[in-house]
């Protein structure tokens, strides 16, 4: 079987025009990941620029209110640019620079990955172009302007469903036009090998920090880890350090949209089937003829019809559980965390919070839940207002 497999999942299902680029990327990554200079530079960026380590915060009011397990929040929302995306992006853009590339391109859904990529490109002096579905440019208009401020060109994608999947299509097309000077900064643990591995390696710092922090605070490992899943990068980042710890439950929260029994959902592992798309074998929302299904979620960052191959594998071997959280539940959790703790979570992260709120009362008081708070919710305030029927003018 080909490279980059997690069980049967993963692989490199891409046009021949891109094969040399991913091979070159894999070689460069394997070389530089052990290069002392690269490592030192990345560590310094993560610490001094992104603000790592991120805090592990005990949500005491929420814990007392729910009356069960202790809830900790891993505060990726406090990173520079406001989400976990910066971890991956600093790694990849630095790698691109070491590879001698002068230009980066990226897809974005919520705009967080686009903003992070534009930020890293500005800092490290690379040209940057972002591809974003038309629908997402409308629901995340502020992030579009933010990317432009950072010096990136934003290409509005009008093909297909005009959301994240189409932004990925368009970025792949652009990459195949221009591979010589350009690196594609993929935003999640998806796509062809080596991306699922590279992105996971750059995100696994989340779980590594959690392990250290929780051992210091609680003197034991957490009982449950909960994270939201779009492509699955913040989730695998949180989970990875704990995969070999069988007593730690791993729960991924997919976007249920209007509900898994409607066709307005993005809960890939719950309603999807195994398929091959965007370079990887994994689970995809699709019809019986393998046409990729239009998906829906209130959250632009989770509105993706696939999931990273390592999650598909963890799902099949039963190591991680995957649940669907609806728009309504996520919005409720968004409001709940905001009013209880004074922390406005990204609507993506609110999916994980929602499941923690459900689960906590069923746990004992000495059990510990760590929720991956993957991002901050400033970008979502306007769309939550719209959801509630409130018109605000940005």
């Amino acid at each position: 079987m080909s490279k980059g497999r997690f069980g049967i999942y993963g692989g490199q299902y891409i046009p021949e025009t891109l094969m040399n680029a991913v091979i070159e990327l894999e070689e460069a990554y394997n070389h530089f990941k052990n290069d002392p200079k690269f490592k030192a530079e990345l560590d310094s960026l993560l610490k001094n620029y992104a603000g790592r380590p991120s805090m592990l915060y005990f949500a005491e009011k929420v814990t007392n209110d729910l009356g069960g397990g202790k809830i900790y929040l891993k505060r990726e929302d406090l990173n520079h640019t406001g989400s976990h995306k910066i971890n991956n992006v600093l790694g990849q853009v630095l790698l691109a620079k070491y590879m001698g590339k002068t230009r980066v391109i990226a897809e974005t859904g919520a705009g967080q990955h686009g903003v992070a990529t534009a930020t890293a490109a500005a800092l490290l002096g690379l040209k940057c172009e972002i591809f974003m579905g038309m629908e997402d440019t409308q629901r995340q208009a502020l992030n579009v302007f933010r990317m432009k401020l950072l010096g990136a060109k934003v290409n509005v994608v009008t093909s297909g469903t005009q959301t994240l999947k189409d932004a990925v299509n368009e970025t792949l097309r652009e990459w195949s036009r221009r591979v010589e000077d350009t690196h594609y900064v993929l935003g999640s643990v998806m796509g062809p090998h080596p991306f699922p591995t590279i992105v996971r390696d750059f995100q696994k710092v989340i779980g590594q920090e959690v392990k250290k922090q929780i051992l210091e605070i609680e003197g034991k490992l957490p009982d449950v880890l909960i994270a939201c899943i779009g492509g699955g990068s913040n989730a695998i980042g949180l989970f990875y350090e704990f995969i070999e710890e069988p007593n730690v439950r791993l729960i991924g929260c997919e976007a249920g949209g209007h509900g898994i029994h409607t066709n307005k959902t993005a809960a890939t592992m719950t309603v999807g089937k195994v398929g091959i798309f965007h370079g990887m074998k994994s689970y995809f929302c699709q019809d019986e003829y393998g046409q990729i299904a239009p998906v829906y979620s209130i959250s632009a960052g989770l509105d993706y019809p696939g999931v990273g191959p390592e999650h598909a594998y963890l799902h099949d071997i039963g190591r991680a559980e995957y649940v669907a959280v609806t728009d309504n539940e996520a919005v409720e959790a968004f409001e709940y965390l905001s009013s209880m703790e004074g922390i406005i979570p990204a609507i993506e992260s609110a999916h994980a919070v929602a499941y923690a709120v459900k689960l906590a009362p069923k746990l004992n008081k000495d059990q510990v839940i760590v929720v991956g708070l993957s991002g901050r919710g400033d970008k979502d305030v306007a769309s939550i207002a719209r959801y509630q029927g409130v018109e605000i003018y940005e």
Binding site: Y13, E16, R173, R177, I276, G290
Partner: protein, 258 residues
């Protein structure tokens, strides 16, 4: 019996591409039959896919038109059965790996064999992943076509050595679409393939004019044209057949003289 070799026995081959179901399967059938009469040596028939990442806007739009009429793989196999009753021109299906995988790879290739499909071109299945389909293709006597690109460099040898049927030389970077300038690398690619494998080489991606086709035919065994034809179909819709046929005749002439 596989008929692919016949495509390269009538001088330089002209290989038109159309998307099945655009503008309708009836027109597709007529196009296949008429293009065969007009001199097409191998007909490449696209199975529409929702997310054709190797395709430019023209063929993307054709896929969307076909899918919006509810065209499925089953409809296409049914049409192929009808075509095979009266036409023996070699046919290659071009698609992406997911529609094959979702249909069931064994079932898909069994249907290919039964409907006289001679070859399969899968845009997102590179050399490294060909085991996904190859065992089934071998079992059912359908060639799985290898593609090489301007960036393939030292991969060309590896790919060419195991290639069967013909090699699809991608003549420009990027996605399908009509281009003014076709890179001169194509000739070099063909040369490298021939060093290790005497297999026919067809060049495609970006070719639209008779002059370009003639130039490619000087060194290649066949010329593949997609977007230029799909554009005619887009322009004339259900009335496209005579326009396409005129174009195909001109192009076959051009490659023959080339």
């Amino acid at each position: 019996m596989n008929k692919l070799h016949k495509a390269f026995t009538n001088g330089k081959a002209f290989i038109p591409f159309i998307t099945a179901g655009d503008p309708s399967l009836d027109v597709t059938k007529e196009l296949v039959l008429e293009m065969a009469n007009a001199g097409a040596d191998l007909i490449e028939l696209g199975i529409p896919f929702s997310d054709p990442v190797a395709e430019g806007q023209v063929i993307q739009a054709a896929s969307i038109r076909a899918l919006s009429h509810g065209i499925t793989v089953d409809h296409i196999f049914k049409m192929l059965r009808d075509i095979r009753k009266i036409c023996n021109t070699p046919i290659a299906l071009m698609t992406y790996v997911n529609p094959i995988f979702a249909y069931g790879t064994e079932r898909f290739l069994r249907n290919c064999q039964e409907t006289g499909v001679d070859a399969l071109i899968v845009a997102d299945l590179p050399f490294e992943e060909k085991d996904e389909l190859m065992p089934f293709c071998l079992k059912h006597g359908v060639y799985l076509i290898s593609m090489i690109a301007p960036t393939s460099n030292n991969r060309i040898h590896i790919i060419a050595r195991e290639a069967q049927g013909f090699v699809y030389c991608v003549s420009s970077m990027g996605v399908t679409g009509v281009r003014k300038n076709i890179s001169s690398d194509a000739e070099q690619m063909v040369k490298i393939v021939k060093e290790v494998n005497g297999i026919p080489c067809a060049v495609g991606f970006g070719i639209s004019t008779p002059e370009q086709a003639a130039r490619m035919a000087k060194f290649a065994d066949g010329v593949i044209v997609g977007s230029a034809i799909v554009k005619i179909i887009e322009e004339y819709g259900p009335q496209c057949v005579p326009h396409v046929i005129e174009y195909v005749s001109t192009m076959k002439n051009a490659v023959t003289k080339g």
